[in-house]
Symmetry: C2
Subunit: 269 residues, 2 copies
Amino acid sequence: MSEAIKELRKIAEKIYNDLTKGKIPSIELPARTKSNIVFDERYRVWKYGKQNITRSAVSLSGAYMLLRTMYVIDFIKEMIEQGKSSTLRELYYISEGWGDAKFSSQDESDKLAEDLEIITKKLREDFKLRPEEDGARVIGDIVIEEVTRKGEKRRIHCQDDVGDAGYSIPYNVEKEKLRFVEINADKVIAVETGGMFDRLVENRFDEKSNSILVHLKGQPARSTRRFIKRLNEELNLPVIVFTDGDPWSYRIYASVAYGAIKTAHISEY
Amino acid sequence: MSEAIKELRKIAEKIYNDLTKGKIPSIELPARTKSNIVFDERYRVWKYGKQNITRSAVSLSGAYMLLRTMYVIDFIKEMIEQGKSSTLRELYYISEGWGDAKFSSQDESDKLAEDLEIITKKLREDFKLRPEEDGARVIGDIVIEEVTRKGEKRRIHCQDDVGDAGYSIPYNVEKEKLRFVEINADKVIAVETGGMFDRLVENRFDEKSNSILVHLKGQPARSTRRFIKRLNEELNLPVIVFTDGDPWSYRIYASVAYGAIKTAHISEY
């Protein structure tokens, strides 16, 4: 049984035991609010503090939430066992068929998937859930080894083996999928806008400045941030964030550097 | 002098001559409205009809429009001469420094760039203007030869030489940039959503069905549509559009098959 299923099972068992003992079923998880965000001096990122909230069937909306949680756990279990995956969007649409357990918006189901990550200390990749979009682009003097869908290891040089649009980051950038094989660049430049990224590529700035250019696409996707973080930690490359310089840019910079409230459980990754 | 500059110069000359002759300056262009859209039976796409509109300095807003047109022509001329390019977004921001000739929104400057395409019968690629985004992804049994920014010809097999995120389509997909070298797939499947595209890739549907999978990203970008059109015309591949099946999907299908009102001047490309 996979680790993820084991952890999810614990949640279901807790509810089951509450019910058989005649107790009102409930689950606990960290509060995901600004007041429960603590700056971790060691990793220099934001993490959740000690405030917990309880979701209990004492209220009707709480009961619905637990029902949805059980359905989602069951759905994830089925996917893992069958070796399939779904997008977060598909999860939301599939929930339409769950009667009283259906979500009223995708925000709700996305948030529940994150809740499950926090409780189980697993990543949504372990749950076989993935975002709709990914595909931030990379260009620079680095060789990446990607394990393809066929299970083959493929080495891609992000200047010599790709077109001018660069190498597209897959949605899973963990070590079992991506390895950095060879690197000659000495820094990472994360670029906010596509226009500026393409301009730098056109002017061959990656070669002249010996950098890896990464397109953030505005607020970076998880996989993009994780990719940059790995370059920083495993290869000790400094990361420069190149933004438009407007107030929104501070937020983008901060999310690259320190993480976001919504995903403070993965800030250190 | 480039063809594009020659054509743009004609517009400026017309205005100049009007002014020196003491006439109120004006330019004519096809009306870009639904009532001026005609279905071309031969190419089976929508094109502009015979209705023209006149932009003249007889009104203040018309005069501003002509002023902006002159500034944009000058800007494009400078870019072509210096071998530079800009995004449509940059054009809009740069216009902020043009005093009375500045645009009030990016919609306005985007539309003017299209007007210039229609009048000159050139493409915005000839004007060195490009969209902010591109990067629709392709996976399938086809070898593409891309002329890179260094001027080298690079051959990329869109299954064996790319990661699981596929080959990213560059913003310029014309023949001087992209050639189809070798093809074994026998059809194109254009997929509306990223989730479904990734699912098909994961299940290796491109191999099993011998297709080229193209991600439309909703309403397709010009370069994506053009790429598909070239596959269809040059290689005689049938194109299947795989959508969600909701009303929006009809629009997406139609824009792939017949073109859009806003860009009816390039429907046949």
